[in-house]
Symmetry: C2
Subunit: 214 residues, 2 copies
C-alpha cells in the first residue's frame, strides 16, 4: 500500500509547486525534479498529466472535509463550508481554478455535497429542491472564490475613474450615476459574508415558514 503513499506525495509536491510558481509551472519534469526522480517515474502513479490534475482536484476537496463535518445549526454549517471553500482558494489560488474546470465525483466530493444536502434539508428546503439549491450555492461559492483569485473582481477596480473616462457622457449612464460608490474600495471579506447572508435571505423568504424536516 506504499503505492498510495507515493501518489499522495506526488500530489502534495504538485500542489506545493502550483502554490509557489503557478499551475503552468507544474510540469512533469519540474515535479519529478522536486521529488528527486525522473519524469517518467510519475506515470505509473498518476496515469498522465490529466490524471495528475484530477488528483489535485481530489487533494483540494479533501481539505474541505473537516469543514463538512462541523456541528451546529444548519445555517452555520453551510456558512462554514462556504468560508472553508474560499479559504481553500486563498491557500491554493492557482490550483483552485481546477475545481470549476474539472468535474469530480470522488468519495470526498460526495461527502462534502452530502453535508450541504443535509444542512439544506434541515433548513426546510423541500426534498425536490435540495439538489438544485445545493448547486446554486456551491456554484456561487466556487465562482466567487475563483473570480477573486483570478483577479476578475479586482480587474475592474484599478482606477475606476479612468475606466469611466474612456466613455462619452451617457454611454455608461449607470457607471456615472454610481460614480461615488464605484470609487470606494470593496472589502472582499465583507462582501462574501454579505453574499452568504443574502443567500440565506433567499432561503428564508422561500422556505422559512415551513417546519424544518427530520
Amino acid at each position: 500500500m506504499t503505492s498510495a503513499d507515493r501518489k499522495t506525495a506526488i500530489l502534495d509536491a504538485a500542489l506545493a509547486l502550483a502554490d509557489e510558481r503557478g499551475l503552468t509551472a507544474v510540469t512533469m519534469r519540474a515535479l519529478a525534479q522536486r521529488l528527486g526522480v525522473t519524469p517518467m517515474a510519475l506515470y505509473p502513479h498518476v496515469g498522465d498529466k490529466d490524471g495528475l490534475l484530477d488528483g489535485l482536484v481530489d487533494r483540494l476537496l479533501a481539505e474541505l472535509l473537516p469543514a463538512a463535518a462541523t456541528e451546529g445549526p444548519p445555517a452555520e454549517r453551510l456558512k462554514a463550508l462556504g468560508r472553508a471553500s474560499r479559504a481553500l482558494a486563498q491557500r491554493h489560488p492557482s490550483a483552485y481554478a481546477l475545481l470549476l474546470a474539472r468535474p469530480s465525483v470522488t468519495p470526498d466530493a460526495v461527502r462534502v455535497v452530502d453535508a450541504l444536502y443535509g444542512a439544506l434539508s434541515e433548513l426546510g428546503v423541500p426534498d425536490a429542491e435540495v439538489p438544485r439549491v445545493e448547486r446554486l450555492i456551491s456554484t456561487f461559492v466556487l465562482g466567487y472564490a475563483t473570480s477573486e483569485v483570478n483577479g476578475r473582481f479586482a480587474a475592474g477596480r484599478v482606477n475606476p475613474r479612468a475606466q469611466r473616462a474612456q466613455f462619452g457622457p451617457d454611454e455608461v449612464p449607470a457607471h456615472r450615476a454610481l460614480a461615488e460608490v464605484l470609487d470606494r474600495v470593496p472589502d472582499w471579506d465583507a462582501e462574501f459574508e454579505a453574499d452568504l447572508d443574502d443567500l440565506f435571505v433567499l432561503l428564508q423568504a422561500r422556505w422559512g415558514g415551513q417546519r424544518p424536516r427530520s
Copy 2:
C-alpha cells in the same frame, strides 16, 4: 485600419477552432494554417498567445452586447442577459471557460456591466449595494454556465445509484434520504430559470418594498 480587421479575422478563426476542436487545439500553428499563413504572422496582430486569449474573451463579451441593449422592465433585462450568457456558453463551450479565468475590462465588458447596474438600480437595489449584487448575479451566471459546459453538473449525474452504493449505510445520510429525487434527471434549462427566479425572490425580499430609484 485593415489591421483591426485582420485581428478580428484571427479571433474569429481562433473561436471557430476552439468550437470545433477545443481550446487545446488553438495553437499558433493550427490557427495560422487555418488562415493560410505562417505562425509568426499572427504575432504583430495579437501580441502573443496570452494576447490571443484575451482577444477571445473580448470577442465573447461582444456577443453579449445585443442582450445588454434590450428594452423592457428591469427584471426582464436582467434575465435576458443571464440567458444570453448561458446561450453564449452553449455556442462556445470551450472558449467560455476563459471568462472566469481571465479578467477583462474592455469597453464592451463595461457596457455589459453598465446594463446590469442600471437594471438593479431600477429594481430598487440601493446604490451602495448595486456593485456587490451585480457581482453576485454575474458570478452565479458565469459559474452556472461554466459548470454546465465543463461537465461539473453532469458528472454527478451518471448513475447516481452506483455512486451511493460506494458508501456504507449512514455514511452519506442525505444522499440516502434524497435517493428518490437524486435519481431524477434534471432539466438544466428549467433549473437555470428556477435559479434566476430565486435570485429575484432575493431581490424582492430585500429591496422589494422600496420605491424604485430614478
